[in-house]
């Protein structure tokens, strides 16, 4: 793959992983937090 194009593909996949894993982590943290409030 052309290395300059690879940067754009990498950026998209890195953002996708960050959003999916980050949002999962956020939800699990919030779930634990509201559980703790009971």
């Amino acid at each position: 793959m052309n290395s300059s194009l690879g940067i754009f593909v990498t950026a998209v996949y890195a953002s996708t992983y960050a959003v999916l894993l980050g949002y999962t982590a956020y939800l699990l943290w919030r779930l634990r937090e509201v559980e703790g409030e009971d």
């Binding site: 793959m1 300059s4 593909v9 998209v12 959003v19 999916l20 919030r30 779930l31 509201v34 009971d38």
Partner: protein
């Protein structure tokens, strides 16, 4: 009441959906990185394997937000308002991901990250509308009035979806037509590419369902806590 027994951190269905979503996503990633390059776009087509899935889930999430908004107005059950807001939040998240993917694809293809052509303009309007939806929710303190106003906004917002989807047909510009052309019943890709795209689309859809379910549980518990405090 035995709170420890009632409030399990993550129920089995949510956990199963999350694990299934990530497992299918891993398969989708393998297929995306082993699919052949496109004759015109080369390996840049790999961006579309997640871009299309994210856009589909954003549409789906906004549509589901509208369904729950209608249910709220009909049944007056606050749970529907919470689920409508949860779905809109996830939709906005995936819309953001769609915009990032689109801009990263546009820069090497068109030479610019952003241009005010119809597809991108209607995408910006769609995103701005749901940012406004959350500003509206935060601006109103009365829960009942907030839920009604948000329901009206969620119903109104869904009008943007067919306009955004159809923009590539109504105003032919530089954005390519839909990969899955439901108007002309065509798929503009070879099988390994379609396979990679469909598996990623399924994975992101499963994750959306898992996110919505977990977010709904969180919102319900937070609301119960607020009622308890009052």
């Amino acid at each position: 009441m035995n709170h420890a027994a009632k409030k399990k951190t993550l129920d089995n269905l949510s956990l199963g959906l999350l694990l299934a979503g990530f497992a299918v996503f891993a398969v989708g990633q393998y297929l995306a990185f082993t699919a052949p390059p496109d004759v015109q776009q080369g390996y840049l087509i790999r961006i579309l394997y997640v871009h299309v899935g994210a856009a589909w889930v954003a549409y789906l999430a906004f549509f589901v937000a509208m369904i729950y908004a209608v249910l709220y107005l009909w049944k007056q059950n606050p749970a529907y308002d919470r689920l409508s807001a949860a779905s809109a939040e996830i939709g906005l998240l995936f819309m953001g991901l769609t915009l990032i993917g689109g801009m990263m694809w546009a820069r090497p293809t068109w030479g610019v990250y952003w241009t005010w052509e119809p597809k991108l303009t209607t995408s910006a309007i769609l995103t701005a509308f749901y940012v406004g939806y959350f500003l509206l929710r935060h601006a109103i303190e009365d829960p009942e009035f907030r839920a009604k106003a948000a329901a009206a906004a969620a119903i109104l917002g869904v009008v943007n979806i067919p306009i955004n989807y159809m923009s590539v047909y109504w105003w032919r510009s530089i954005h390519q037509t839909a990969t899955f052309d439901i108007i002309n019943r065509k798929v503009h890709m070879d099988f390994p590419m379609v396979q990679a795209m469909m598996v990623n689309l399924l994975a992101i859809t499963l994750l959306y369902v898992a996110f919505l379910r977990i977010k709904g549980i969180i919102a319900a518990r937070a609301a119960a806590r607020e009622d308890w405090d009052e």
